[in-house]
């Protein structure tokens, strides 16, 4: 019962937050000193054409009605036309979003695979050299600008060493070989059995996701360390040790199981943050995802595209954030 009540409260929270996001974008889009009617009909339009366009856009309605119409449109995925690509914004976003998803997922995998063991090492050898290393990595993760790390790693690993592929998502020679099914290139290539394409795509994704993942490593390691320290001081750990259980089993089975629950939330939060950080990373690596779509649209003053991308990123961010919160409550019966 309580789970039902919790999830309904959770849905209400998601709905309210999303509505708030829409209110912010609506406000941004309306207060802007550009006349949206002129953007449609042009400067030279006669009076009646102007009035008609104004009515069609719903701008003669009161602000509340306009907002209701706006919410309705967004809910069915109508963000209007992009001025640059001349296609519906929602189609553009559907095309670029898988690239961002691919990048953020890879980065999270790196973050979890490195961050969790590092955090555990830091807790187990507290204040000794492994802990110091984890601390330094964490501090650097909080103080190095992500775009600078991207530029420098591109210069070193692509420009000087040639270990990875350059900017973009795929080499020119490999374009259009595989038919997009999921939009995630690695999956598509694997499905089609095109291993050359797979290798090339992998070479492209490694560096940006490593750069993006570094920040999630820093965050996840720091949180894992503090959760683990908390668990290692609990009595059940002392009891397990007193029973003569091996240290490895105490840490990896008993303590980790209890650390795993709050860790889910942290991983969810870091995933959401990665979507945000992707805006900078994608710009540096010319990665054709939603972040780059957003910045390109910004510089071209393509307002529908800007607001559409903002809403989509915001919605995913809110969703992931609150979902990890819900998951935590479901997994941990002690949480209220």
């Amino acid at each position: 019962m309580s789970i039902l009540r919790q999830s309904s409260g959770f849905l209400l929270q998601v709905a309210l937050t999303f509505l708030g996001l829409l209110a912010v974008t609506f406000f941004i889009g309306r207060v802007v000193p550009i006349d949206p009617v002129l953007a449609v009909v042009g400067d030279q339009a006669p009076r009646d054409v102007y009035e008609q366009a104004r009515r069609e856009l719903g701008l003669d309605q009161p602000l509340w009605t306009q907002f209701a119409i706006y919410v309705q449109k967004v809910l069915v995925g109508d963000f209007g036309q992009s001025l640059v690509t001349n296609r519906p914004v929602v189609d553009d976003i559907a095309r670029v979003f898988p690239a961002t998803l691919e990048l953020a997922t890879f980065a999270t995998i790196i973050g979890v695979a490195l961050g969790v063991p590092m955090g555990i090492a830091g807790a187990v050898w507290q204040d000794r050299w492994p802990d110091q290393i984890v601390r330094v990595i964490g501090l650097v993760g909080y103080s190095v600008p992500i775009f600078w790390l991207g530029i420098v790693s591109l210069l070193v690993f692509y420009g000087m060493l040639g270990w990875v592929q350059g900017p973009g998502r795929l080499g020119v020679f490999f374009e259009d070989i595989v038919r997009p099914v999921t939009g995630v290139l690695l999956v598509d290539a694997a499905l089609a059995g095109e291993w050359e394409v797979f290798r090339n795509a992998f070479g492209h994704v490694v560096l940006p996701s490593a750069v993006l993942g570094y920040f999630s490593v820093a965050y996840i390691a720091r949180m894992t360390r503090s959760f683990m320290l908390e668990q290692l001081n609990q009595e059940y750990i002392v009891a397990a040790r007193a029973k003569g259980m091996s240290e490895a089993r105490v840490i990896w089975v008993h303590a980790l199981r209890n650390v795993a629950v709050p860790l889910v939330t942290v991983i969810g939060l870091s995933y959401a943050r990665l979507l945000e950080g992707a805006v900078l990373t994608e710009t540096v690596f010319a990665w054709p995802g939603i972040g780059r779509y957003l910045t390109t649209a910004l510089l071209a003053a393509d307002m529908n595209a800007v607001l559409g991308a903002t809403i989509v990123i915001g919605a995913v961010f809110i969703g992931v954030n609150l979902l990890s919160d819900l998951l935590y409550r479901l997994l941990d019966p002690r949480a209220t």
């Binding site: 708030g20 941004i28 909080y142 190095v144 600008p145 600078w148 510089l299 961010f317």
Partner: protein, 293 residues
């Protein structure tokens, strides 16, 4: 007693050890760096060897001294022959002023809302808590991008926008501390003898919770520096002819192969500054408020 019987060198070392336990070397270095850049930004106009906008087209992309250049441009010059050192000094000042002012704005918003929530409770508190949750649940960088794209960019708007970052954490901390403080004797006593709510919160509760707030503000500063430099890097932050650290990295990026020094020095300053402020913030937190982790 024991000290007197020890040889003087041992007294020296134990004193030194005690000093370094209270002031770890990393913290001392960080404080020294912060003091250094603070002085540089205060005296920027006297320290700059050239005007930061002055062009010298005959001396474009000059190499810095440590890469075999001349002493004309200590840190080299950029694609328009502008002196990198002068631009760096100007940028440091800009980035610090933005970080400092916007953190003050965030603190002002956060403390006011936190006090309002603690004072009125009820629906006022619910609304404020809702706003806090909302702020924590949206991607601020993306919203900031959209705002800057639509409203154009002036320095004032930019600082105000950066001031919206992080207020929710300060508000949450303030609310919690103020509710706890209200239950303590001193605040109740002050209102008993007829002090107005403004006086109780401003003159009695605020000084008592200030140390925690200072820690929270310190930890906000590196985030604002990174946010500002990220936005400026994208070309949406500080606009030319003004310059900031992120701005320099953004424009220097195109010359990374031929003139890496344009991008190098501002990046080093960003990293050292955020690192130093984080180290000092962590240290302050451990000293002033061990509960805040």
């Amino acid at each position: 007693m024991t000290d007197a019987s020890l040889p003087s060198t041992e007294v020296e070392t134990s004193r030194r050890r005690r000093f370094f336990r209270a002031w770890p070397p990393a913290v001392l270095l960080a404080l020294a760096w912060i003091a250094f850049i603070a002085l540089v930004s205060i005296f920027a106009d006297w320290l700059k060897p050239y005007d930061f906008m002055a062009l010298d087209l005959r001396d474009r992309l000059a190499e810095p001294v440590f890469m075999g250049g001349t002493f004309r441009h200590l840190l080299g010059s950029d694609e328009l022959g502008r002196d990198v050192l002068s631009r760096l000094i100007e940028s440091v000042r800009m980035s610090l002023v933005i970080a400092f002012l916007s953190t003050l704005i965030a603190a002002a918003i956060g403390v006011s809302l936190g006090f309002l929530a603690a004072h009125f409770r009820g629906w006022v508190e619910q609304v404020i808590l809702g706003a806090i949750d909302f702020m924590a649940a949206i991607p601020f960088l993306i919203i900031a991008l959209a705002v800057l794209a639509f409203f154009g960019n002036t320095l004032t708007l930019f600082i105000l926008l950066m001031g919206m970052h992080g207020w929710e954490r300060i508000a949450r901390i303030t609310r919690g501390l103020a509710i706890a403080a209200k239950e303590q004797g001193y605040a109740a006593a002050a209102s008993e003898i007829g002090a107005s709510p403004f006086r109780v919160y401003g003159a009695h509760i605020l000084p008592n919770i200030a140390s925690t707030l200072i820690v929270a503000m310190t930890l906000n500063i590196p985030e604002v520096i990174l946010l500002e430099s990220g936005l400026s890097f994208l070309g949406l932050g500080v606009q030319p002819p003004l310059t900031s650290l992120g701005n320099m990295v953004g424009y220097g990026r195109e010359y990374i192969q031929t003139a890496p020094w344009i991008l190098l020095s501002p990046a080093v300053v960003i990293i050292l500054t955020t690192l130093a402020v984080s180290v000092v913030g962590d240290w302050l937190r451990d000293r002033l408020d061990p509960t805040l982790r």
